[in-house]
């Protein structure tokens, strides 16, 4: 009974959370709670991998929740894949937190919520009826909200928490309507919905995009994500960005691929288009950020876009009865889900370690950290290389599979898709290139050059446990990039379930075959060996051919002759060309230079302004309307008791009169 084991994990974690609430102020609580949490998550990971290898489907009904209906659970291949993501992310984040959490100023506001948060995400994945799903989903939202506002002294965190909780409520509401539409017969179990199929597929898909998409961070519902993810402590940011967005993707897959039954190809157009726009705008937003964690959060938006493009292609291929291509696209999406959870957690760990060491997230105050934090720098570099989709790391492997699926779009019968998919692929290629540029900026300004502030100069390497967690994830990125075949094999049953087909079975040595051996293939191992070989060759050549003769010349000034360290090439300098080319259209970016009058000794001033049109057109009007109404209703808070009684009385009489007249 694997499903019992899979449910035992969340139960233990909830218990652990209660226990943690009582002891969290003790000195040993941090290590004990996170250590136990990591162990439970590792056990959950083992259960999930066993379920994937078995490939069986188990269901269970427990007499909890609503009387006589109970809670339904189901462990199938899709759920197992996401259980792997949740528990792997949870285990590594707990490990990182053993070290990171020691710097926490108020652990009682963080420690109890983390195990419960991981447990809620586990429950979402294994739930098999709408009530259980929404209950776990809402638990996940509320617990993560509590973590976002854990440092409530900072007004920005409170604002982030408010926007997050409003968006989370909106998303759950959309999902609730979505399930209500699908459960036309009044039976809210997923089994009934699966048998029934969706009556109004367009509406259901739109609601799934609104509900699950707002949690995942698709444009333009992403606005809360870059505010809330950075506000939380480092390991929680990693959990939210690396894991919770994936649970949202799971919700979308469960509804569109599993519960809705066959989906018309026209609906895939919307998914692909939204994914492509999300990917491009996500990376453009990221390029404009100078806050390291916010930059990473915007990259989550970008990667969610990539995943949605792949999912949309899988829907399109499935509708056209091209199972091999659909399997490729679905496997690519799931593999990217897994990969993104690895490298995004790794990068957020790095950002958390840097914040602990220097007290700032503003990359223009950092610099030169590669000398004081060499191991963090190496781990961050591996994560940055992976997210920039450079071989031989895992980001490249999954994005390559997405592109291979896009190349197969020529075999689709519909012209709309044959035009849209290559366009989306071109946009993805552009955003991958921009992501690489963004991480050159992030890594270069943070770790290279010279320290731009006293805090950055005084930085010390982070503790050993945190480094162990980062090393584990970096190792994962390398393994998944070098032998992607192992992972696509594991994803086979899930792909089988979603698209009735799976990718060809791969083994460690032979190259990854997306469709058939006469198409393109990719061998991460050969690329990795080639890269190592080339590096060794160049090193040897440099060693052999270098000139040992002494020369007299100026000392090399590292490219910045100015003594002022702030005059180094900054994040803004990196972003400027891209801001001029793309952001002037996307965000209405404008630059103004104010030169002082001749003979005036005042400094010249350079200002760059950006407009977030999604915020200004979509969110600001809603906020203004609510504010206006709240102001109008405000006097009702300060009436006399008799006035309240009078209002109730008059309202009752008016309603009754209305009823008497019209009934």
């Amino acid at each position: 009974m694997l499903i019992l084991a899979a449910l035992l994990g969340p139960a233990v974690l909830f218990g652990l959370a209660l226990l943690a609430a009582t002891v969290s102020r003790r000195r040993w609580a941090n290590a004990a709670v996170y250590g136990a949490c990591a162990l439970v998550a590792v056990a959950g990971l083992a259960v999930a991998v066993t379920a994937l290898l078995n490939g069986s489907t188990e269901t269970l009904t427990l007499p909890l929740g609503i009387p006589w209906i109970g809670m339904h659970f189901r462990l199938d291949a899709l759920a197992a894949v996401f259980l792997v993501v949740v528990n792997l992310g949870g285990a590594v984040a707990s490990l990182f937190a053993i070290g990171y959490g020691r710097h926490e100023t108020s652990p009682e506001r963080v420690v109890p919520f983390v195990p419960a948060f991981i447990a809620a995400m586990n429950l979402v994945v294994v739930s098999d009826d709408a009530f259980t799903f929404l209950f776990a989903w809402e638990c996940m939202s509320v617990l993560s909200w509590a973590l976002v506002v854990s440092h409530d002294r900072d007004p920005q965190n409170l604002r982030a928490g408010l926007i997050y909780v409003a968006m989370a409520g909106f998303g759950t509401f959309a999902l609730m309507i979505c399930f209500a539409v699908m459960a036309a017969g009044g039976d809210f179990t997923f089994a009934a919905m699966r048998a029934h199929g969706a009556g109004l597929p367009g509406l259901v898909l739109a609601l799934a995009l609104l509900g699950a998409g707002s949690k995942a961070g698709i444009f333009p519902l992403h606005a809360w994500l870059p505010l809330a993810h950075p506000a939380a402590p480092g390991h929680v940011s990693a959990l939210m960005s690396g894991v919770m967005t994936k649970v949202a993707v799971y919700g979308f897959i469960r509804i569109t691929f599993d519960l809705m039954g066959p989906v018309d190809w026209t609906l895939s157009l919307a998914v692909i288009a939204i994914g492509a726009v999300t990917a491009l705008l996500g990376v453009l937003y990221a390029l404009m950020q100078h806050d390291l964690k916010r930059l990473l959060a915007y990259h989550t938006v970008e990667n969610i876009g990539i995943i949605f493009v792949a999912l949309g292609m899988a829907l399109a291929f499935r509708a056209a009865h091209l199972p091999a291509a659909a399997a490729l696209a679905a496997t690519a999406a799931l593999f990217h889900v897994f990969n993104h959870s690895l490298f995004k957690s790794l990068l957020f760990f790095g950002a958390g370690a840097i914040q602990n060491a220097t007290g700032t997230r503003d990359i223009d105050r950092l610099g030169g950290l590669i000398r004081t934090m060499p191991q963090t720098a190496l781990a961050f570099l591996i994560g940055a290389t992976a997210i920039s989709a450079l071989p031989p790391l895992n980001g490249f492997a999954s994005e390559w599979m997405v592109f291979q699926a896009a190349f197969l779009s020529g075999s689709l019968p519909q012209w709309g898709l044959r035009l849209l998919i290559p366009t989306a692929a071109a946009i993805l290629a552009l955003s991958a290139a921009l992501a690489a540029a963004c991480f050159v900026k992030a890594f270069g300004v943070t770790f290279l050059g010279r320290a731009r502030s006293a805090a950055a100069t005084a930085a010390r390497e982070t503790d050993r446990v945190s480094r162990l967690a980062m090393a584990a994830l970096a190792g994962g990125c390398i393994v998944a990039g070098v032998v992607p075949g192992f992972f696509t094999n594991l994803l086979g049953p899930a792909s089988q379930m979603l698209t009735t087909a799976r990718m060809p079975i791969a083994n460690a040595v032979s190259p990854l075959v997306p469709v058939a051996a006469n198409h393109n293939t990719y061998s991460g191992l050969i690329i990795a060996l080639g890269l190592i070989g080339a590096t060794l060759l160049v090193a040897a050549l440099v060693h052999l051919l270098a000139n040992r003769a002494t020369r007299r010349s100026d000392t090399w000034d590292c490219g910045h002759p100015e003594i002022n360290l702030l005059a180094q090439y900054s994040a803004g300098s990196f972003a400027q060309p891209i801001r001029r080319v793309y952001a002037s259209i996307a965000f209405g970016a404008r630059e103004t230079v104010e030169m002082p009058a001749p003979c005036d000794l005042a400094p010249a001033k350079f200002t760059a302004t950006l407009h977030d049109s999604a915020w200004e057109l979509l969110y600001a009007p809603v906020g203004k309307t609510i504010g206006f109404l709240a102001d109008r209703l405000n006097p009702f808070q300060y009436l006399t008791i008799r006035a309240y009684l009078g209002i109730v009385f008059v309202a009752l009489v008016l309603l009754l009169t209305g009823l008497a007249i019209w009934s």
Partner: protein, 217 residues
Amino acid sequence: MDTLTVAHFLAGSLVLLSFSLLYQDRLPPLINTFAAQSLVLALAIGWQAETQHAPHLLITAAIEFGFKTVLIPLVLTWIIRNLKIHRTVEIVVGVGPTILAGMALVGLAMALMMRATPGIGVLARQDLVFALSVVLLGMLMMVTRRNAVSQVIGFMSIENGLVLAATGAKGMPFVVETSVAFSVLIALIVTGIFLFRIRERFDSMDVAVIDQFRGER
């Protein structure tokens, strides 16, 4: 007299006593009138127990009699004696308009119930009309009175209307009637404490003083 006519007569008396509550401007007669209303209610419930062959309604009737006819009026009398407000005359603004408004409310209740409940007997429908009238008149009293004790009595007479409606309907679960009856007792305890606290703080029973304290008027 057939059974329904008696029920009808008792329910009608309740409405009449509600009207009488509206214009009592001294507290002891107000409490007495409330006790009389509760007594009539207990009789009405007892009659329902007889006609519906529902012995559990006798328990409700006993609760109503014990609490609302005896205990609550005694406690309220004790409270106003302790607070030394039993001789004060409350200025009831506009007795005439209030009574007219009360009549309009009864008309409203009649118009509504006659439309909302077709298909049951005329007398049973009029019972519901009376119950709704008692509720609405109680609310009217709460709105028009300024003295906290009068407001409490208005609240209790709303409860009387609710209990009348609950016992008049056949097959209403016993738990509903008893819980409504018990809720009044809880309300008495809370309001009793509340009244002493108001007096302690503001040296008056006029709720307008609380409004002044909150800084609005």
